[in-house]
């Protein structure tokens, strides 16, 4: 049993930490938060150093980082500043392109992402469909007309929807398919295509460095060659990547918890009440112990899930279960630890502080990339399946 990172992993973790500690500041975090602004400048700097699109292949400018390395970067960035760290949200699902895209699509988009020139987005969620998108089917449709797809419908909560150079849109292409997800196709729609419009979602509780938008498609016409992967296989394509993508998200949640914990630990030694630092009170000590233990437990689960992806790639069910457990647990821990950190800071934390931002930013982790409820359903489903019971 090994509980140590390799030298290279250690170096990557240190490099991410050093970059974030020197470049991310509370002032910047607050600015992005107040303005609902994607951290473009940090994004470009991070891209130059290879932190963007880390899991993309080298021949297109990526670093082909493993899942553990991606987790280390996500954790370190979020630990330093949860809002600045949202620079990592500009490339969600870009990895679907090297995985399923044509050579032309790879050459067109991936190098520009790796250089930090553009961001992209993936659109599955609709006003009426989120968790049930696969089971119930999508309202957004795409039909073939000559050598074009014609897309109609609406999407919502799309991360970097307005900033993205292109969106991988999930469309119902076969409305009769049973189950409906067998009729879902991913189609690339570029910014500025006539009939495609975006509207930023405000106000938003937190995670405002990753602006979210609703998208509308009114007879949007794109070439048939904008098909990403296979027709009617879009849902499978997304699901095949969720197991990987959920783990770094969970690592980000661990980072938020770690950052909030460190701030609370330090603050408790500085804040005096009853003529002594509040760290002297047993109630504070218990809080600190609980926060640290939860954070470390979540980290272990995240690292185990990442380790499975790297070392047991054929154990798909085990990976799915661990990814879901890690995501659900880390998201919960991030909520609980930021809550307790805010309590330790009390009034000082409630007003214009890093902690109140961390608290708001943490909340998204239990919602994006499958809600906590869906993660728990997946975990339970996998266990029931093992004993031959279908839920």
């Amino acid at each position: 049993m090994e509980f140590e990172l390799t030298e290279e992993q250690m170096d990557i973790k240190n490099a991410a930490r050093e970059f974030a500690e020197k470049e991310f500041t509370s002032e910047l975090g607050r600015k992005y938060d107040e303005n609902y602004e994607f951290p473009w400048e940090l994004y470009r700097k991070a891209a130059k150093l290879g932190f963007i699109g880390g899991d993309l292949p080298e021949e297109y400018g990526g670093q082909r980082l493993g899942c553990i390395e991606s987790c280390l970067v996500n954790e370190e960035f979020n630990r330093v500043d949860s809002t600045c760290a949202s620079l990592l949200s500009g490339v969600g699902f870009a990895a679907l392109i090297p995985k399923f895209g044509t050579e032309e699509q790879k050459k067109k988009y991936i190098p520009r992402i790796c250089k930090g020139e553009i961001v992209c987005g993936m659109a599955l969620t609709e006003p009426n469909h989120g968790s049930d998108a696969g089971m119930v089917g999508l309202d957004t449709t795409a039909v073939k007309d000559g050598d074009e797809w014609v897309i109609n419908g609406a999407k919502t909560f799309i991360t970097c929807g307005a900033e993205a150079e292109f969106i991988m849109v999930c469309c119902q292409t076969d409305p009769k398919a049973q189950p409906p997800y067998r009729g879902v196709t991913m189609i690339i729609v570029e910014k500025g295509t006539p009939g495609f419009d975006t509207n930023s979602l405000k106000p938003k509780m937190g995670w405002r460095g990753a602006p979210q938008a609703e998208l509308s498609f009114d007879n949007v016409r794109v070439p048939l060659s904008n098909l990403l992967g296979q027709e009617n296989r879009g849902f499978h394509q997304i699901m095949s990547y969720f197991d990987f993508s959920r783990i770094p998200i969970a690592a980000g949640a661990v980072g938020i918890a770690q950052g909030a914990f460190e701030r609370a630990l330090k603050y408790s030694t500085q804040r005096e009440q009853f003529f002594q630092p509040i760290a002297n009170f047993q109630i504070t000590q218990w809080k600190i112990a609980e926060m640290a233990t939860k954070t470390e437990t979540a980290r272990l689960l995240v690292h185990k899930a990442a380790w499975l992806i790297e070392n047991k790639p054929d154990k798909l069910r085990l990976i799915t279960r661990h990814a879901a457990m890690a995501k659900a647990y880390a998201a919960r821990v991030a909520k609980e630890v930021t809550d307790e950190a805010l309590q330790i800071h009390s009034g000082v934390g409630y007003v214009d502080s890093d902690i109140e931002r961390f608290y708001r930013d943490a909340r998204i982790n239990d919602i994006i990339e499958g809600t906590g409820e869906i993660q728990r359903y997946i975990v339970a489903r996998e266990f029931y399946r093992e004993i031959g019971f279908s839920i």
Partner: protein, 262 residues
């Protein structure tokens, strides 16, 4: 330009809680984070910038424990081509002179035009190793360097003096320059750099490899022996001034004048 950069793996002490260890001659390091000496980070950046502009190579060298590989790998990731670590039980407790002797043995047969070091190390603050090394090699040196302009046979350097003065001088190559912070803007380590660093050579040499004898290094090979390390006691004397702002200001001026401080 072939450059050798001498670096040191030092504990980060700025915000840490420092305690003297049981020997009374060092500090407890187990809870401290080690990294490249701040001044050396500027030295390695300067060497890599010169390599990028003029070609040539950068070799980074350190004397230290195995853990110092972290600092060497960082330098390799930033663009150095080769790394050498000088490690031996006998090297421990070397002063600046003994350290310079060890570095001298490792460097004297390597091809180089320039040796760069940081102006000082943040842990022992000797600011001597580079200068003694230059003497042992019989080459000219300049310290507190804040600008380097490379010519064919020499370098033109700006030295930072007290009182905001700068001195410009030409130093014949090969030479040793001890650089000051602020000479450049050290780059971050990139993932690409870390990947490349894995394929670069990191050589480890000990006492025997350098042809040194035990009595030439460590405490016995040093000119200076450390007697004791301690944390200065906190001064107890404090005077709290009372009164209105004008009154307090007048009292402060009075006190400072009385002690000849203004």
């Amino acid at each position: 330009m072939d450059t050798i950069v001498c670096v040191k793996h030092v504990p980060e002490t700025a915000e840490a809680e420092i305690a003297v260890d049981s020997s009374g001659k060092g500090i407890k390091t187990e809870d401290l984070v080690f990294d490249i000496n701040e001044w050396d980070d500027y030295a390695i950046e300067e060497a890599v910038l010169m390599k990028e502009k003029l070609g040539g190579s950068v070799t980074v060298i350190t004397m230290g424990p195995e853990d110092a590989d972290k600092t060497l790998r960082k330098c390799l990731a930033k663009g150095a081509d080769k790394a050498i670590r000088l490690t031996d039980k006998a090297f421990e407790r070397s002063d600046a002179y003994a350290t310079a002797k060890i570095l001298h043995k490792a460097i004297k047969d390597l091809p180089f035009n320039l040796i760069l070091t940081g102006t000082q190390a943040s842990d022992d603050g000797y600011a001597q190793v580079g200068v003694i090394l230059a003497e042992l090699l019989g080459i000219p040196h300049a310290t507190m360097v804040k600008k380097i302009e490379s010519k064919e046979e020499f370098v033109r350097v700006n030295r930072e003096l007290e009182g905001g003065l700068e001195q410009v001088m030409e130093v014949k190559l090969p030479a040793m320059l001890a650089v000051q912070t602020g000479i450049n803007e050290p780059r971050y380590v990139s993932i690409m750099g870390i990947r490349k660093a894995r394929e670069k050579e990191l050589k480890v040499l000990g006492l025997g490899d350098l042809g040194l004898k035990e009595e030439e290094v460590g405490e016995s090979g040093s000119w200076i022996t450390m007697e004791e390390m301690f944390i200065p006691p906190v001064e107890k004397e404090a005077e709290i001034l009372t009164g209105g702002p004008d009154e307090i200001a007048a009292k402060i001026v009075e006190t400072l004048k009385a002690r000849g401080l203004v």
